[in-house]
């Protein structure tokens, strides 16, 4: 199905890690504007690397990554930073500045990129914190926050400059059911109320499928399936079904590649 207006277009993209390992091989992907697109796959398939490539922190070894119609890996330092002002990213650990309190953390991008008065900054910070339900935590330091709260503060910071694109790196990992529910609801609400284009990288199938408009599944360097959540559930390919149903063995093997059992058990310790 052709999607008319895409914020991010990735074509024939390959990425080779510094250690020589191929992470992606000829990946094609489009992220439609204003929708929630989920990128899913088992741990270690390079989902975070993909977000870093879209954010211009890493360059692909081959292929093209276009963000807002610009090839992000070929932009000058200045243009890249201009583009990033319109992007927000929520890192897995939050990435809050540990020497600043919640208020200063959320105010950070506003202070860096705008000339707003202190009272205006305060109003904006309070609005963003209100959206994530943490207006009361304004004076706390990051080490006083729980994991879920820290992610919500980081989310408030990521949307401080009202970006067009927001990327979430494993937002639901390690959350208790309540925090998880709160985060799922927040991602959805922010997407609809701010008309954001959202990319979620996750391996939490159920939560992500609930809110995603379109899903890509990456297994072993390649996109093995994409479509709406319903079509992904219905897809009969082994790659997809192993991941969706959480089967321990399948195209992604349970055993890490090794020599034969006999070889490992019967040889001496020094062999």
């Amino acid at each position: 199905m052709p999607i008319p207006d895409n914020l991010v277009e990735i074509s024939n993209m390959s990425f080779l890690h510094e250690n020589g390992k191929t992470v992606f091989q000829d990946v094609d992907m489009v992220i439609p504007r204003g929708k929630i697109t989920a990128i899913m796959g088992p741990s270690g398939t390079g989902k975070t690397t993909l977000l870093r490539i879209i954010g211009g922190q890493l360059s692909p070894s081959a292929g093209k990554v276009m963000v807002e119609g610009q090839p992000i890996h070929a932009l000058s330092h200045q243009k890249l930073y201009e583009l990033r002002k319109r992007m927000g990213m929520l890192f897995q650990q939050g990435g809050l500045f540990t020497h600043l309190n919640v208020y200063e953390n959320v105010a950070f991008p506003l202070r860096e990129h705008t000339e707003l008065s202190e009272s205006m900054i305060r109003t904006l910070v309070l609005m963003k914190l209100q959206m994530v339900g943490l207006r009361g935590a304004i004076g706390l330091m990051p080490n006083e926050l729980s994991g879920g709260m820290a992610r919500r503060v980081a989310l408030a910071r990521a949307i401080a400059l009202d970006p067009q694109l927001i990327m979430y790196d494993e937002p639901f990992t390690g959350q208790d059911p309540i925090s998880m529910g709160v985060l799922v609801k927040l991602v959805k609400t922010l997407n609809t109320s701010l008309n954001l284009t959202t990319i979620i990288v996750s391996h939490d199938v159920e939560e992500t499928m609930q809110i995603a408009d379109y899903v890509y599944v990456i297994v072993d360097k390649k996109v093995v399936g994409h479509g709406t959540p319903e079509s992904i559930y219905r897809d009969s390919s082994k790659d997809l079904q192993q991941f969706i149903q959480g089967l321990p063995d399948g195209p992604v093997p349970f055993h890490y590649p090794a020599k034969s059992l006999a070889h490992d058990f019967l040889q001496g310790v020094n062999a």
Partner: protein
């Protein structure tokens, strides 16, 4: 044999890559136009945490170094009946060599390691990455103020080290061992030249300041983002920093000796 050569070659290329990366980082720090309004408070903050917070260790060490130097010097000079030369001996040793070198080594241990650990931890906890994604350049916001803060702090700490060490020598030489105060100070004044001794010593400390903080920020910025990686980076800052100071000291002394 070929394997060994290949390993050595790989190691050599890796070292050259690191030097190249460190050079690029220094270039970015030096050639960015400074942001006075936003950068100045950050710089002051770093001068405080790298300079002011190092004062205790610098003052206490320099006091004892001056006292020991006077004690040792007095006993040796007294054998030749030259104990009135204690002032020049102490002042020249401290101002020319001990002041800049010991300050730089203590600075690498106290402030350099702290800078590396802080930047390394910011990297490990994704603070640097999130800064990048907020379109704030970490080189400008984090690395640059720490680099300049160290470069400014080092010569100031050296001046304080020199003054305190000479005072320590005065306490031992004059107050305890009984060297005449007038002779102590006047001999010192007539032997120590402002340009050749004091200024050259400060010049050394400027070079050491650049070397140590450059090493510290680079090690932090390129640290592997794990606990072991940060521990290794911190150790490397102290070891490389101290070795760089001692090596550069020889080169600088050889270059300056023509003036003496």
């Amino acid at each position: 044999m070929i394997d060994n050569l290949a390993v050595t070659g790989r190691w050599g290329i890796e070292q050259l890559r690191q030097i190249g990366k460190a050079g690029i980082m220094l270039g970015r720090v030096l050639f960015y136009p400074p942001q006075v309004r936003k950068g100045f408070p950050l710089l002051i903050q770093q001068v405080y945490s790298e300079g002011v917070l190092s004062l205790i260790i610098i003052i206490v060490s320099s006091l004892f170094i001056g006292m020991v130097l006077a004690l040792q010097g007095y006993h040796t000079l007294a054998k030749f009946g030259a104990s009135q030369e204690l002032g020049p001996l102490v002042a020249l040793s401290i101002v020319r060599e001990l002041g800049p070198v010991v300050t730089a080594i203590l600075f690498a241990g106290r402030a350099g390691s702290a800078v590396t650990a802080e930047i390394g931890l910011m990297k490990a906890t994704e603070q640097l990455s999130s800064m990048e994604m907020m379109a704030v350049d970490p080189i400008r916001r984090v690395i640059s103020p720490r680099f300049w803060g160290g470069c400014i702090s080092m010569p100031l700490l050296t001046i304080i080290f020199n003054a305190t060490a000479i005072y320590g020598a005065y306490l031992v030489g004059v107050k305890w061992l009984g060297v005449d105060a007038g002779i102590f100070w006047s001999n010192m004044q007539s032997s120590v030249e402002f340009h050749a001794d004091v200024v050259n010593g400060i010049l050394k400390s400027v070079v050491f300041g650049i070397a140590v903080t450059w090493i510290a920020v680079f090690q932090g910025y390129t640290a592997e983002p794990t606990s072991a990686g940060i521990a290794n980076a911190t150790t490397r800052t102290v070891v490389y920093g101290s070795l760089a100071v001692l090596g550069l000291d020889f080169v600088l002394t050889a270059m300056m000796i023509g003036d003496w």
